[in-house]
């Protein structure tokens, strides 16, 4: 077992708190938009910097730990920046900076109201996300998970239209219910094991617990984290939540919120149950069935959507389950591929959402059928879109190929040929729902070619950066932040811990 050496440090706490700390400043600067946005960017940079200082630990298998208070007798509110937590925090906080710039362009370009509330809620969401990443036990995880639910709500209903309010209700019903399942599952775990710590390889070491109890417990957990992870049939809040402004869809509904759900799934699978218990109780089969069917159904549903953001939402549903399925395989490459897909899907999907938002702000088009000839009007945007779309379809040399490659190997390692088939079919379906967009953009006449204009630089620069990241990570998976090495390190700690 790869023992993780812990040391006490306040940095994880600072990393969580920095964005919530600027909320009063954001609220006070409501009348001065530039100053207000400065606070957001400042918090983003500091947050990313703090997480970055922890990054070397992730490779050395060290974890900074900070106990805030004893929240219940023998249960601490504890932040522990273990490699997996750092990995997720790096992605979320790094992309937050880009999203913040993009938000400025989007919110001003689209003339959205209540921007102060928007930026304030966004900052709280990021605190909650980093809190989720660094949660050292289930109770801490639940606390930040619920904070994230509530902080996202004002963003979902931001436009305050009937559709947005209905989406907000749906969002709350799904996520609050899920929270209750998670609470119940955690309580049962606590009664059964006397602990709620996340520990690589799991905390259920005995096989004395009856099989039925274990299956019910696992299903409760799955309902609890599966809603945010968009596992079908718990997914339908996600397309509805596309009523939110696009930067919200981009960061929260492609990275922070949904990845918190997926992060939760991997935590539960790898750090609560552990690979050994998962396979001995046959829980991995349940997970494979759910995630496998989600991948296929999500992709099929994406094919039918004309609204661009909804198509991306269903694509997200399907891709989130790549990660879940990777974990469900319980093999070294499966974990590596799944965890690596957290990063690659983040860069690719955020690019696509950024593009959708740029198109909306610039041309007020929301539907795929209206995009004829748009490639000539917005060349940078559509080039980036193409990179992201190709990556999601798993075409080399974009980073989506790398994660998919390892997922495929994981399926072979687990002798699950059907899983490999699912990945291949899904790749084809990805081509099926992305290529018509690309084809319309480049090979159909629609717009006057002389009208070559892009959205504001605030929007175009971030989306080009994320597209470039996706492309370069395909060549160098360890580009800049060693995402691949960290992912494979986490994977071996999980598999090594179980002694498989």
């Amino acid at each position: 077992m790869h023992h993780i050496e812990t040391y006490i440090s306040v940095i994880p706490l600072y990393a969580v708190l920095v964005s919530i700390a600027v909320v009063p400043l954001i609220l006070m600067s409501a009348r001065n938009a530039n100053l207000r946005e400065f606070w957001t960017i400042l918090a983003g940079v500091i947050k990313f910097g703090l997480v970055l200082t922890l990054a070397p630990d992730a490779l050395q298998n060290k974890a900074a730990e900070f106990t805030i208070i004893e929240i219940a007798p023998s249960v601490d509110l504890v932040l522990r920046a273990d490699p997996f937590g750092i990995y997720f925090a790096l992605i979320a906080s790094g992309l937050w900076i880009l999203t913040s710039f993009y938000s400025i362009g989007y919110m001003r370009g689209a003339g959205e109201k209540k921007q102060t509330r928007y930026f304030a809620s966004f900052a709280v969401c990021l605190s909650a996300t980093i809190g989720i990443a660094f949660s050292g036990n289930l109770l801490t995880f639940i606390i930040f998970y619920e904070i994230l639910t509530i902080a996202t709500y004002p963003l979902v209903i931001h436009k305050e239209t009937k559709v947005a309010i209905a989406a907000g209700r749906k969002y709350l019903i799904y996520t609050l219910t899920a929270g209750l399942f998670l609470i119940a599952a955690s309580a049962i775990t606590f009664i059964l094991t006397d602990t709620m710590e996340f520990s690589a390889g799991g905390i259920f070491d005995s096989t004395v617990i009856p099989k039925n109890t274990m299956i019910i417990l696992f299903m409760l957990f799955l309902c609890g984290v599966g809603v945010k992870a968009g596992i079908i049939p718990f997914h339908s809040w996600l397309p509805a939540a596309m009523a939110a402004p696009t930067p919200v869809s981009a960061l929260l509904h492609a990275v922070a919120v949904v990845k918190s759900g997926v992060f939760g799934v991997v935590r539960i699978v790898g750090f609560i149950f552990g690979p050994e218990v998962m396979s001995s109780y046959g829980l991995n089969i349940i997970l494979i069935v759910f995630s496998g069917s989600t991948i296929i159904i999500g992709s099929l549903l994406a094919l039918r959507q004309d609204n661009l953001k909804r198509r991306l939402a269903y694509s997200t549903v399907s891709h989130l389950s790549y990660i879940v399925l990777g974990a469900a395989l319980l093999t070294s490459s499966g974990f590596t591929g799944g965890i690596f897909h957290i990063a690659t899907h983040a860069t690719m999907k955020i690019t696509l959402f950024f593009c959708a938002g740029a198109i909306y702000v610039n041309l007020h088009k929301e539907n795929v059928s209206e995009l004829d000839g748009i490639g000539k009007v917005m060349p940078w945007t559509m080039a980036s879109f193409t990179i992201g779309a190709l990556g999601l379809a798993g075409i080399p040399p974009i980073n989506g190929f790398v994660s998919k490659w390892f997922l495929g190997i994981g399926a072979l390692e687990a002798n699950q040929i059907i899983v490999l088939v699912i990945f291949i079919i899904s790749g084809l379906l990805n081509i099926g729902y992305f290529f018509p967009i690309i084809q319309r953009a480049y090979f159909k006449e629609g717009y006057d070619i002389t009208k070559n204009r892009e959205a504001s630089m605030f929007m175009v620069v971030p989306l080009v950066i994320t597209a470039l990241l996706s492309l370069l990570m395909g060549f160098y998976p360890d580009l800049l932040l060693d995402f691949y090495s960290i992912a494979s390190g986490i994977s071996s700690s999980l598999i090594g811990g179980a002694g498989l």
């Binding site: 004893e70 929240i71 007798p73 509110l77 709350l172 119940a184 309580a187």
Partner: protein, 497 residues
């Protein structure tokens, strides 16, 4: 040593105040409010110190008039009593501090008797908690109930009717309890709780004792408003003056819950009411029915105070469920919820009071974004209290629910686990319904939209700092109690160990 007299001091303090307020008022007009605030502040400080003292030293036993039990009446100041007394006195201090404007508004020129009777109510509630004698407890129940009837009856037009109904039902409850006390006295020859706890195990399977338990639990159940004995509660809370609702809702029924703690966990013992006589199962069953019933009724209400009243029925259900589960975790959850719910409900009822004072109504169907903009701090506090009621971390309400959830799992009571989780969702429905209106509900049609942009508040500080500060304090308290619940829980643990 004065500390030995602590158990007697607190009820006497309020009793003295109740008598002194009319007298001093003859000399100095409008002094009632200041005396009431001063006395409840004193009581809070004393009970705060008392809790610290009994937690670090030992239980204080005080024999009234020097007569030793079982002949004399004994007052017992142990951790549980000290804890509940502190909750009562702190909440009443905050509510009374807030009350000046509300009482002036709703009860002009009847302030003096109102505060005098309030003191009597608090004397009764503290007495119930501190006495160690089951008959003396009955006396204090009657004192607090009579004061309660009066405080309710001075409210709106329909309040005398509500108070009369409460009086009838409440009297039945008290009588049942008294009958039970009689049976127990016949069997044991003592009224002292500690004595009873020693004698009962040998005779607790006799029919007389069983009848006694049944009568006492039903009687207190009426006072606590455990479903289906809650009928008096919604009308009383709705039509009573705002201050009365804010005072009785958080602490009145909690004292009933305290009596159940005392009777079942300390006098009869967990083993008795969970294994020998299935009282616990019965309480848990009715409690969970009450949780669901109260939550659904709350969803159906159009008036804030009435909604909060039904929500109280549900929340009392949580406490009763914790009692009924009859395990240490349930006890922790229930006692913690006594504290947490007191803070949440006081906060919410005070907000309803503020709305009535400033806007003249607390009608949910008239809530809109304009109201939200006019009272930003008030509704920020409302949001915190609402999230806590729903049971979202890190608010206090989450943690009491957490222990109740652990308790249901420990007892393998899956049905009750489902009830707790379902009711959280129902809570979310009726609170988010209001939040949605406050933060998003525009004018119904195309009425001049510009007016939504609120130009500034004519009432400075949302109707005055005296109304706002108590609300904000309670809301802050909800968060603080949530974050520091571990030390409270370990205190509760020490109560039963």
């Amino acid at each position: 040593m004065i500390i030995r007299n602590l158990p007697a001091i607190i009820p006497l303090l309020f009793l003295a105040a109740a008598l002194l307020i009319p007298l001093i008022n003859l000399l100095k007009k409008n002094s009632a409010f200041s005396i009431a605030v001063f006395v409840s502040l004193l009581a809070s400080v004393v009970s705060g110190y008392g809790l610290y003292y009994v937690d670090t030293n030992e239980t204080i036993r005080y024999s009234f008039g020097g007569w030793q039990p079982p002949i004399g009446i004994e007052y017992v100041y142990d951790r549980l009593a000290a804890f509940v007394a502190l909750v009562i006195n702190v909440i009443s201090l905050i509510v009374i501090t807030h009350s000046l404007k509300a009482v002036k508004e709703e009860l002009s020129d009847r302030e003096m008797p109102y505060y005098a009777i309030t003191m009597l109510l608090l004397c009764g509630l503290n007495g119930i908690v501190l006495t160690g004698d089951i008959f003396n407890l009955y006396v204090f129940v009657e004192i607090s109930s009579l004061a309660g009837y009066a405080l309710i009856a001075v409210g709106e037009e329909r309040s005398p009717f509500a108070a009369f109904r409460y009086l009838l039902i409440g009297t039945i409850g008290a009588s049942l309890y008294l009958l039970g006390v009689g049976f127990l006295f016949i069997m044991t020859g003592t009224l002292n709780m500690i004595n009873l706890a020693q004698i009962l195990p040998s005779i607790n399977e006799t029919p007389t004792v069983i009848v006694a338990v049944t009568l006492m639990v039903s009687g207190i159940g009426i006072k606590t408003a455990i479903f289906p004995m809650h009928g008096w509660l919604p009308d009383s809370y709705t039509y009573a003056p705002s201050t009365t609702s804010a005072l009785i809702a958080p602490i009145g029924t909690k004292v009933g819950a305290y009596v159940l703690f005392r009777l079942l966990f300390f006098i009869f013992g967990i083993d008795y009411f969970s294994r020998i006589l299935p009282v616990g199962d019965l309480i848990a069953f009715f409690a969970s029915a009450g949780i669901i019933f109260g939550s659904i009724m709350a969803i159906a209400q159009k008036e804030l105070k009435r909604m909060l009243a039904y929500s109280s029925v549900a929340q009392i259900g949580y406490i009763a469920l914790g009692i009924g589960l009859a395990n240490p975790l349930g006890f922790i959850g229930a006692v913690l919820h006594v504290l947490n719910h007191a803070f949440m409900k006081a906060c919410l009822f005070l907000i309803a009071a503020n709305l009535r004072i400033n806007e003249g109504h607390s009608d949910i169907s008239k809530f809109d974004i304009k109201l939200g903009k006019k009272y930003p701090w008030t509704f920020a506090a409302f949001t915190i209290a609402a999230l806590s009621m729903i049971g979202l971390p890190p608010m206090a309400g989450f943690f009491s629910k957490w222990y109740l959830v652990l308790a249901t799992i420990d007892s393998k009571a899956w049905f009750y686990l489902g009830v707790i989780l379902l009711s959280s969702l129902l809570n979310a429905v009726y609170f988010f319904r209001i939040l949605e209106r406050i933060y998003m509900k525009k004018y119904s049609s195309d009425e001049i939209k510009e007016e939504v942009v609120f130009a500034g508040n004519p009432n400075k500080y949302e109707g005055g700092l005296s109304l706002l500060i108590p609300v904000v304090l309670l809301a802050a308290g909800i968060i603080v109690l949530g974050l520091f619940n571990a030390s409270i829980v370990s205190l509760i643990n020490r109560m039963i160990s």
